[in-house]
C-alpha cells in the first residue's frame, strides 16, 4: 500500500483565459500536515479544490488512498465525489461557513446525520468533539453567539467528527487575530496529525505554515518550491 494518502499528477485547470493550474504534481503522505503557500491568484485554492474533489481538473489525475483501496478521484462523477467529500474528507474554511440558524452541536452533528447516523447519536459525538476542542457548555449556542475563534473550533469539530482521514483547510485562521490564530491552528493540528490524520492547509500566513511539516510554494499555477519549516534551503 502506498504511503501517500493523496497523489496528484499533471493537474491543469483554466478558468477562461486564466490558467489557475499548469501541470502540478503533488504527493501528500499519510499523517503529515502540508501547507500550500503563494500569493493571491497563484492557484493554491484551485489546487486544494482539485485535491479534494470539489473541482474536476481539465487534465491530470488525483488518487486517494482510502482504507478500502485507491480511489481515482478525478474519474468519479459529481455524486460520487460529493459522497467522498462527505465521508472521507473534512473541510475548514476561512469564515467557518457554519449554518447560522443551527446551534454549535447541530452544526457538528449535521455532518454525521448526512451520512445516515441518527440525530441523538450524532449530537452525542458532536458534544464530545466540542468538549475536546474546549467548547464544553457552548454546545447549544447559535453561531452568532460565538467568537471567531470559537466558531472556527466548531468548524474543526465538524470537519473531524466523521473520522475524516484528510482535512482540507482554506485560510482557516485568515479572519482571526494572531493569538486566536495560534490557538485554532494548534487545535487543528492536535485533531488531525495528532491523531494520525492528514492536514492540507492553504494559507498566506507564514506562522500557520511554519507549524506544518512541509510547505509547498506556488506561483502562476505551478509548484515552485518545497521546504521543511525551520530548515534553510
Amino acid at each position: 500500500m502506498s504511503s501517500f494518502v493523496i497523489e496528484a499528477s499533471g493537474l491543469s485547470k483554466s478558468f477562461g483565459q486564466t490558467h489557475a493550474l499548469a501541470g502540478v504534481d503533488l504527493q501528500v503522505r499519510t499523517g503529515e500536515a502540508i501547507a500550500i503557500m503563494g500569493a493571491s491568484g497563484s492557484g493554491k485554492t484551485t489546487l486544494l479544490h482539485c485535491l479534494a474533489g470539489i473541482t474536476r481538473p481539465d487534465a491530470g489525475t488525483v488518487g486517494f488512498q482510502s482504507g478500502a483501496g485507491r480511489v481515482e478521484v478525478t474519474a468519479l462523477g459529481e455524486r460520487e465525489r460529493s459522497r467522498l467529500r462527505r465521508e472521507a474528507y473534512g473541510f475548514v474554511f476561512q469564515q467557518g461557513l457554519l449554518i447560522p440558524e443551527l446551534t454549535a452541536v447541530e452544526n457538528v452533528a449535521l455532518a454525521l446525520m448526512l451520512n445516515g447516523m441518527p440525530r441523538a447519536r450524532a449530537e452525542e459525538y458532536g458534544r464530545g468533539w466540542l468538549a475536546a476542542l474546549g467548547l464544553a457548555g457552548m454546545e447549544d449556542r447559535r453561531i452568532g453567539q460565538l467568537s471567531g475563534g470559537q466558531a472556527q473550533r466548531v468548524a474543526i469539530a465538524r470537519a473531524q467528527v466523521t473520522g475524516a482521514s484528510v482535512v482540507f483547510a482554506d485560510e482557516p485562521t485568515g479572519a482571526l487575530d494572531s493569538a486566536t490564530s495560534a490557538e485554532v491552528m494548534q487545535a487543528l493540528l492536535d485533531s488531525t496529525t495528532g491523531q494520525g490524520r492528514t492536514l492540507v492547509v492553504v494559507t498566506h500566513d507564514a506562522d500557520v505554515a511554519g507549524r506544518c511539516s512541509r510547505i509547498v510554494d506556488m506561483r502562476d499555477g505551478r509548484i515552485v518550491g518545497e521546504r521543511v519549516p525551520g530548515v534553510t534551503a
Binding site: R79, L97, P118, G144
Partner: protein, 438 residues
C-alpha cells in the same frame, strides 16, 4: 456626499446585476397588478343605475382583498431591495457613517429601484390592457377605454410604490442603524410574545359576535361597517397570530427532526417566523377568501332560483369577480414566494457553496428550503380557512359552509394556492443549483 456613496454602491459590478434586477422585477409586477386591478374596477364607477352601486361596493371589497397580498408583495420587494444593501450599509456604519447617512442611502436606493420597477410595471400594464378589456361584466366586454387609466392614476400608483419602498427601507434598516454588529452576526433568533394569541382569540370572538348580530342591524350602512370591521379585524389578527403559531410548530419540529433536511427547515423557520409568515401570508388571504368565495357562491346558488334576469347577471358577474380576485391573489403569492426565495438564495450563496463542498447533496438543501416554506404554508392555509369558517358561521350556517359546492371551491382554491407556491419554489431551484455549484 450621500449621492456619491449611493452611486458607488449602485455601480454595476459592485453587487451583481441580480441584486438590483430582482427588486426591480418585483416592483414591476406589483405595479402592473395594481394598475390592472384599478383599471378593471374603474369601469364600475361609470355605471349610475341601481345595480351600479352594488358593483362599486363589490369592487371595493375585491380591491381591499387584493391590497393586502399586494402590499405583502410590495413589502417583500422593498425588503429584498433593502436586504441586498444590508451588508454594505452595515459595513458603512462600522466605518463610521452616521445613522442619518445610512438611512438616507437605504431610502434613496430603494426608491430608485422602486421607481424603475414601477415604470416598467406601467409598460407591462399597457401590454395587458387589451386582455383586461376582454373581461365581460354586465353582458359585455369592459373595453379598452373602460380599463385604460389616466395619467394622474398612473403617477399616483408609481408614487405609492416608491413610498412603500421608502417606508420598508426605513423599517428594515432600523436595526442596522441601531446595531451594525447585531445585523452582521445575527446573534439571536427573534422572540414573539404570547400576548399575540390572546389578542387574536379576542378579536376572532368579537368578529364572531358581530356576525351573529348582523341580521338584526338597523341599516345597510351599519351592516357594511360591521362586515368590514369583522373582515378587516380577522385579517389583521391572522397577521398577528400567524408568526406565533408558525414559531410554535417549528420549535416542535426542530426538537423532533431526524433528518438534516427537516432540522435545517425547522431551524430556518425559527430564525425568523415573521419572515416565514410573510412569505406565505398571501395564501392566508387567499385561503380566507376561499371560504368567503365558497360560501358566497353557495349563497348565490340558493338565490339564483328566483329567475330575475338582472339578478342572475349580477350573480354571474360576482362569480367572475371572485375568480379574478382569487387568480390575482395567487399571482401575487407566486411572485412573493419567487422573490423571497431568490433573495434567500442570493443571500446564502456562499453558505450553499460551502455545504456543497462538504458533500451535502443539493437535493437535501432543496428539500430543506422547500420544507421551510411548505410547512408554514400548510399551517397558514388550513388555519386561515378554519378562522374564516368560524367567523362566517353565524352568517351562513354550517349547512352552506359544508355544502359540496362550497367545499369543492375551498379545496380547489387551497390546492391551487399550495400548487402555485410549489411552482414558485420550483422556479428558483436552478438558482439554488447554480449557487451550490459556485
Amino acid at each position: 456626499m450621500i449621492a456619491r456613496v449611493a452611486w458607488l454602491l449602485a455601480r454595476p459590478g459592485t453587487s451583481g446585476a441580480a441584486a438590483s434586477l430582482l427588486p426591480v422585477t418585483a416592483f414591476a409586477i406589483v405595479t402592473s397588478l395594481l394598475l390592472t386591478v384599478l383599471g378593471g374596477a374603474q369601469t364600475f364607477w361609470t355605471w349610475t343605475d341601481d345595480f351600479g352601486v352594488t358593483y362599486q361596493a363589490l369592487a371595493v371589497v375585491a380591491l381591499v382583498l387584493l391590497v393586502v397580498p399586494l402590499a405583502s408583495l410590495g413589502g417583500a420587494a422593498a425588503r429584498l431591495s433593502a436586504r441586498r444593501r444590508d451588508d454594505r450599509l452595515a459595513t458603512l456604519r462600522l466605518l463610521g457613517a452616521t445613522p442619518a447617512t445610512v438611512s438616507a442611502l437605504a431610502v434613496l436606493e430603494s426608491v430608485v429601484l422602486a421607481v424603475a420597477g414601477a415604470l416598467a410595471g406601467v409598460v407591462l400594464y399597457f401590454a395587458l390592457v387589451p386582455l383586461i378589456a376582454l373581461i365581460p361584466f354586465r353582458g359585455e366586454a369592459l373595453g379598452i377605454d373602460g380599463v385604460l387609466l389616466g395619467v394622474p392614476a398612473l403617477a399616483g400608483v408609481v408614487a405609492g410604490v416608491a413610498l412603500l419602498a421608502a417606508g420598508s427601507a426605513v423599517l428594515g434598516l432600523r436595526q442596522v442603524v441601531i446595531s451594525p454588529l447585531g445585523v452582521r452576526t445575527k446573534q439571536e433568533a427573534p422572540k414573539l410574545h404570547w400576548l399575540r394569541i390572546v389578542i387574536g382569540i379576542a378579536v376572532i370572538a368579537i368578529a364572531f359576535l358581530m356576525m351573529s348580530v348582523l341580521q338584526v342591524a338597523g341599516s345597510m350602512l351599519v351592516i357594511l361597517a360591521m362586515l368590514g370591521a369583522a373582515f378587516g379585524g380577522t385579517i389583521a389578527v391572522l397577521n398577528l397570530i400567524g408568526p406565533w403559531v408558525i414559531r410554535l410548530v417549528a420549535q416542535s419540529q426542530a426538537r423532533r427532526a431526524k433528518t438534516p433536511a427537516r432540522l435545517l427547515a425547522a431551524r430556518s423557520v425559527l430564525e425568523s417566523p415573521k419572515a416565514a409568515w410573510r412569505q406565505v401570508s398571501g395564501v392566508a388571504m387567499t385561503s380566507f377568501m376561499a371560504v368567503f368565495a365558497g360560501t358566497g357562491i353557495a349563497l348565490l346558488g340558493s338565490f339564483g332560483e328566483a329567475g330575475d334576469v338582472e339578478a342572475m347577471q349580477l350573480f354571474a358577474d360576482i362569480r367572475t369577480g371572485i375568480l379574478i380576485t382569487v387568480v390575482g391573489s395567487f399571482l401575487m403569492v407566486a411572485c412573493s414566494v419567487g422573490v423571497n426565495q431568490a433573495a434567500g438564495i442570493l443571500d446564502r450563496g456562499e453558505l450553499y457553496r460551502s455545504l456543497d463542498m462538504l458533500g451535502m447533496p443539493t437535493p437535501t438543501m432543496d428539500t430543506a428550503r422547500r420544507r421551510a416554506v411548505m410547512s408554514p404554508l400548510r399551517i397558514t392555509a388550513i388555519g386561515s380557512a378554519v378562522t374564516a369558517a368560524v367567523v362566517m358561521l353565524p352568517l351562513t350556517g354550517a349547512a352552506i359552509i359544508v355544502a359540496p359546492l362550497s367545499l369543492a371551491v375551498i379545496a380547489g382554491v387551497l390546492a391551487s394556492g399550495i400548487g402555485v407556491v410549489w411552482l414558485g419554489l420550483l422556479a428558483t431551484k436552478p438558482m439554488l443549483e447554480r449557487a451550490a455549484a459556485g
